[in-house]
Amino acid sequence: METILAFLTGLLFAAGVYLLLRRSIVKLILGVMLLSHSINLLIFTAGGLHKGNPQFTDSVMEAGLTNPTDPLPQALILTAIVIGFGITAFFLALMYRFYQVTGTEDLDELKEGDTK
């Protein structure tokens, strides 16, 4: 399972980087989204994947079941997803405004202002 997820993470990361390098702002945003999903999967995988019992529930505590799974990576991912969602919403609004003001979504239009 780890191997599959590792490849999936790598694939998403590669796709994200590829999209970041395109000239369209829409693709830029999609790229950032893919990157953030691949990082979420990375945390999930790094936190350890194995079948185990849930933690902190009464029935488990009473039955004395061992081999618990770690719930923390999922909490981290949940937080990261929420933050990523907010940022994506902001980024989309920014892109829309940029398109309204400049009438283009070509990143090459950003070059002005860098050199002078």
Binding site: L20, I39, I43, F90, F98
Partner: protein, 501 residues
């Protein structure tokens, strides 16, 4: 003890008051100012408490470390919180006149306090994932501030700013995930404990590099600085001054915290790297600044150059080196913000930031020239201003540690900084006004008091830091000693019971 949480709660409460009264535009700046003043008083109080009682710890929700989120204020954090308070007050006063009504009524003040909340949160937290969350709070507020007003050039700058900062956050998150996978903890003190007995440098360095890239982008060091000069000159100057003072320094803060507390195993790899990166950052920043003619762009490139000095202090890694980095950071936050505020005044007086089209200001406004010269020569390192002592401490620490190359680079860069500052001085104040520039609107108006006051305040602080070096340096030395001997920090967070088994 609730004290460590208050630097976060104060801005939050200010935001609530600002939002309740958002329709009363004339109240907004006053509420913002009250909030910042309270924050400054709180910061002084915390500084004194930390000085006399040692490290303050709060286990939120009473979850004991390392399971809950811990807030920790040690000497280094308390200095940074105080600096954030000083900048908050200055910007709040400056914004009365410098930010137009439209921006003020579109949540400018709530966003400034949102940014301060994120910055303070990053300074107090003792948990790496929580640090990520505070970074995001800070970034989100800064995204809104940099785009506020929606001018074309702002949007252009914002896209670069947003993209690169998001990528840096993702690197940070990846580092956290991998480190958690290896150690099973997110608490900084617990990480320090677990990594101190780890013996596989390659495994630790693979996460440490991710953190290094993330913080490098945030603090705009070579070769990750490109977003900064592309975006910092676009928003109104009060916002730029706030960013210049605080945002990049949060990155440096995190870098110093991480690489003194727990990534300390592989000194042979990291410390020369820091010195190289610091040297390149200084040189590239200062040389690119020399070719610019927009005041704000010159100053933006100087932010980069000066970050190099702080990274150099970290790379020297002696008590004097880290103390020098902290002293330099304190000096730089105050002087850098001040130069941007003065740039705003120059713009108010002449209607332009372009050095080619302004001139003769010394004749018209000699006081403005003096207000400029204090922070500018402070940055360049002319005695008796604060920058001189900051550089002196760092460079003598470098020589004592036997790092001659970086020390000579630092000396030479100081000279080039002086060149840039003298260039602004010559062009804006000394030379005659260019003939083709017509009379500008604000020429004979008095500059608004609310814009001059913070400049005077910060200028006095720069002077004070120059004349009262000893007590401030003692503070920085204390902070540096705490950073280099993390034992008490770890014990304060985890408690002696946890350490004994």
């Amino acid at each position: 003890m609730i004290l460590p949480a208050l630097p976060v709660l104060f801005p939050l409460i200010t935001i609530i008051f600002l939002l309740i009264n958002f329709q009363r535009r004339e109240w907004q700046p006053w509420i913002g100012l009250t909030g910042s003043l309270l924050q400054l008083i709180l910061a002084v109080f915390i500084l004194i408490r930390v000085r006399y009682e040692g490290i303050l710890v709060l286990h939120t929700g009473n979850w004991q470390a390392p399971f809950g989120i811990t807030l920790v204020v040690d000497a280094f954090s308390s200095i940074m919180i105080l600096l954030a308070g000083i900048i908050a007050v200055s910007i709040s006063i400056y914004s009365f006149e410098a930010i137009d009504r439209q921006r003020q009524s579109f949540f400018y003040f709530p966003m400034v306090h949102g940014l301060l909340m994120g910055v303070n949160g990053a300074f107090v937290t003792g948990d790496i994932f929580n640090l990520y969350v505070w970074f995001e709070v800070m970034l989100m507020a800064s995204f809104v501030l940099i785009t506020l007003g929606g001018e074309k050039k702002q949007l252009r700058g914002a896209i670069k700013y947003v993209t690169l900062n998001l990528v840096s956050s993702l690197f940070f998150l990846a580092g956290i995930g991998l480190l958690y996978g290896k150690t099973g903890t997110l608490n900084m003190a617990d990480l320090a404990l677990k990594l101190s007995v780890a013996n596989n440098n390659i495994l630790i360095n693979s996460s440490a590099v991710l953190f290094f890239v993330a913080f490098s982008i945030k603090s705009a060091v070579f070769p990750f600085f490109f977003w900064l000069p592309a975006s910092y000159h676009t928003p109104p100057v009060a916002i730029t001054a706030l960013f210049a003072g605080l945002l990049t320094k949060v990155g440096v803060y995190a870098m110093i915290r991480f690489y003194t507390l727990f990534f300390v195993q592989d000194k042979l790899f990291w410390h020369p790297l820091f010195l190289w990166i610091g040297g390149f950052t200084m040189v590239v920043g200062v040389l690119t600044a020399a070719s610019q003619y927009d005041i704000r762009k010159i100053l933006s490139f100087h932010i980069i150059s000066q970050i190099g000095y702080m990274i150099m202090g970290l790379g020297i890694f002696t008590v004097a080196g880290i103390a020098g980095a902290i002293f330099y950071m304190a000096h730089n936050i105050i002087a850098k913000t001040n130069t941007f505020l003065v740039a705003g005044l120059i713009n108010r007086a002449t209607g332009s930031y372009d050095l080619k089209s302004i001139g003769g200001l010394y004749k018209v406004r000699p006081w403005l020239a003096i207000l400029f010269i204090i922070p500018a020569f402070g940055l360049a390192g002319i005695p008796p201003l604060s920058g001189f002592f900051g550089k002196l401490i760092l460079i003598s620490a470098g020589f004592n540690a036997g790092e001659y190359v970086i020390s000579f680079i630092a000396l030479a860069v100081g000279l080039f900084t002086l060149f840039s500052m003298v260039k602004i001085w010559n062009e804006a104040f000394w030379k005659a006004r260019p003939e083709n520039s017509g009379p500008s609107e604000g020429e004979n108006e008095k500059l608004p008091v609310s814009m001059v006051l913070p400049v005077v305040f910060l200028g006095l602080l720069t002077l004070t830091m120059g004349f009262a070096v000893r007590p401030i340096l003692d503070f920085a030395m204390d902070a540096s000693l705490q950073l280099l001997n993390p034992g008490p920090y770890i014990e304060a967070v985890l408690g002696s019971d946890y350490l004994s088994h």
